[in-house]
Amino acid sequence: MIEAVDLTKRFGQNLAVDSVSLSIPKGQIFGLLGPNAAGKTTLIRMLCGILKADGGHLSIDDKTGLLAKSHYGYVAQYFGQYEELTVWENLKFYAQMYNVTDTAHLEQLLSRYQLDTFKHRPAGKLSGGYQRRLALVCAVAHDPEVLFLDEPTAGIDPVTRKILWDEFYRLSGEGKTLFVTTHYMEEAQRCHQLAFISSGKIVARGTPSSIISALGDVDVYATHLSYQPELREELSQLEGMVLLNQFGDELRLVVRASLSQQELASRISNITGQASDLDKTTANLEDVFIALTQSRAD
């Protein structure tokens, strides 16, 4: 359980995190979504107690400060285990930081995270995916109630990513609270709750399906068209255009309800010189992500 009220952090003139309040119940996977430099890492570091907040209040499992430390684990964005130490030595070290010395329990964790075959390999010699597993196993060695994961699957192949997410679900099923930062949409989709942070402020929050409503009253269309700069140029000028998003041969358009399907279709055929089949569809998280990011940047 994580309770944060009005957390604020300033770096010089820059307000990195601006009065963020969060209340995350036990057993949830909470996703913090946002573009680079939005304040995700700053926020997660404050929640983990390694960055001092300039203001606000924080409790984890109803504990604050030092007392809370043994109630959570943290996996940093960058690999932070000791490269010279083996997998086993790293795990034992982190466990001892929490006074956990039960080797049978640690052995069990190693096999659960499929690290037993690399037990005596120096951590620096592991592949990126196994390094991430090691970081995770070190963070859960003391069986914390809350787990903070800063971009846990960045740069990880899809198979390992799936394995890690299966693990996150398992932990959540065991009643652990997970706080995950990400900018992968498919990952965000897997979270129970999401918050979207931009320029240090939470601009939208809710379940993945409800957060889409943050876009407001919009229509979403998709059409098959190859990338054409002049088309993009023309369409982005239109009154009521919220977002243009090209995916390979697919062009997605998010528009205000004031912009009709017929008008859009005629605009497109004017430029391409051919009739276009404009399909009405629903917004997805990526549309929301890009739209929210752009609107904050404007």
């Binding site: 570091r45 983990c48 107690g49 390694i50 960055l51 001092k52 030092l66 430390k69 043994s70 959570y72 684990g73 943290y74 940093a76 960058y78 690999f79 932070g80 285990q81 000791y82 490269e83 982190y94 930081m97 929490y98 970081a135 070190c138």
Partner: protein, 371 residues
């Protein structure tokens, strides 16, 4: 390509203002400091005298030694005490004028006057011998000739008295005896400062610090955990170097092995704790290295290791006493060469322990549980 790399290196340097400051300001500060502080010619060298004669002639000798400005004389009450004053380090030289001085002078029996000099620092020994030579100059002695009225005057008279110079502790004035004990300290200082100097900053750069800080690790566990293993390693290193000194250079045995061990332990602890403090202050490993070097260089030059402390001007001397190495040099020379008494070294031990406590304390204060 070459130009691009050169430009990139310069830009990187330029963007690290602390390192730039260390590169430019520190050498300047040290240059000025050494320019002022480093002189080979000492003055006000403390000289303990025991004047049993107390005649006008004896006074003449004392006044002469004092008026040159080289020696700073003070009285003790036995000949034995002169040796003890030099052993303890309170004096570097001594003067003994025996009871029979005037009586023998009158009888033209060429009495002996003894000047004792501390031999642990050969450069100072040589300078002291040279400076005491003038005691037999005619301006001192011209009133000391006694003649029977009917005697034929001598054209070139012998000196009315004989000046004996006795070198105490290290009578062979072996340079290795003088330098080697200090060299051991320099080596340990380098090992310790560099070993621990990078220990925290390396964790910061490798991002392992971030993971460590999340854990409930206590400040004391962190600081002592960083200090203790290196203390043991540096201690072993100390004895390894010392053993090599004994084997290869015939370094004398200490007056007390326990005191030597205590010195090694305390000095190593001071240096490791100082290294840790550097590591907590520096933001990069490069910066830590620079700070370490800027501590080592003045330590070597201002501690009395090479240049006698007596040669360092009074304005800079307090700085010498802010350098832990100064106390190490004093104690190790005392233990190996002069066999100084425990009571006379106590203050140096206390100073070193004070530094250890100070640096560990500052490290604990400086260690923040946040990034």
């Amino acid at each position: 390509m070459l130009m691009a790399i050169i430009k990139k290196e310069l830009l990187q340097l330029w963007r690290d203002p602390r390192l730039l400051a260390l590169m430019i300001v520190m050498p300047l500060v040290l240059l000025i400091l050494f320019g002022v502080a480093l002189k080979l010619e000492p003055d006000n060298v403390r000289m303990a005298y025991y004047d049993q004669d107390r005649s006008i002639f004896a006074l003449n000798i004392r006044t002469h030694l004092w008026s040159e400005g080289y020696f700073d004389l003070y009285e003790v009450d036995s000949k034995q005490q002169i040796t003890e004053e030099i052993r303890s380090g309170r004096a570097k030289a001594g003067l003994w004028i025996p009871e029979t001085f005037t009586a023998e002078l009158i009888e033209n029996e060429q009495p002996h006057v003894t000047i004792f000099v501390d031999g642990t620092m050969p450069s100072l020994t040589t300078a002291m011998k040279y400076n005491s030579d003038s005691t037999t100059d005619s301006e001192v002695t011209h009133d000391m000739y006694f003649q029977e009225p009917d005697e034929t005057p001598v054209v070139i008279a012998e000196d009315p008295f004989i000046l004996d110079v006795e070198v105490l502790f290290n009578p062979g004035e072996k340079e290795t005896w003088f330098f080697l004990p200090g060299v051991i300290g320099v080596l340990i200082m380098q090992v310790a400062l560099i070993l621990t100097g990078i220990s925290v900053v390396r964790e910061r750069e490798k991002r392992t610090l971030e993971q460590l800080l999340v854990t409930p690790v206590s400040k004391i566990s962190f600081v002592m955990g960083k200090v203790l293993p290196y203390v043991v390693i540096a201690l072993l290193d100390f004895y390894f170097i010392l053993a090599a000194g004994w084997l290869l250079f015939d370094l004398p045995q200490p007056s007390s092995h326990f005191l030597l061990f205590l010195l090694a332990l305390v000095f190593v602890a001071v240096m490791i704790a100082l290294g840790l403090l550097i590591s907590l202050l520096a933001k990069t490993q490069q910066q830590a290295m620079f700070i370490a070097i800027f501590i080592i260089v003045p330590s070597i030059l201002l501690s009395g290791f090479i240049f006698p402390l007596e040669a360092i001007p009074g304005s800079v001397r307090p700085l010498s006493y802010c350098i832990p190495f100064t106390y190490f040099v004093e104690v190790i020379r005392g233990l190996l060469i002069k066999h100084t008494l425990w009571q006379d070294l106590m203050i140096d031990y206390l100073a070193l322990m004070g530094f250890a406590v100070l640096f560990v304390g500052l490290s604990i204060i400086k260690f923040k549980r946040t990034l």
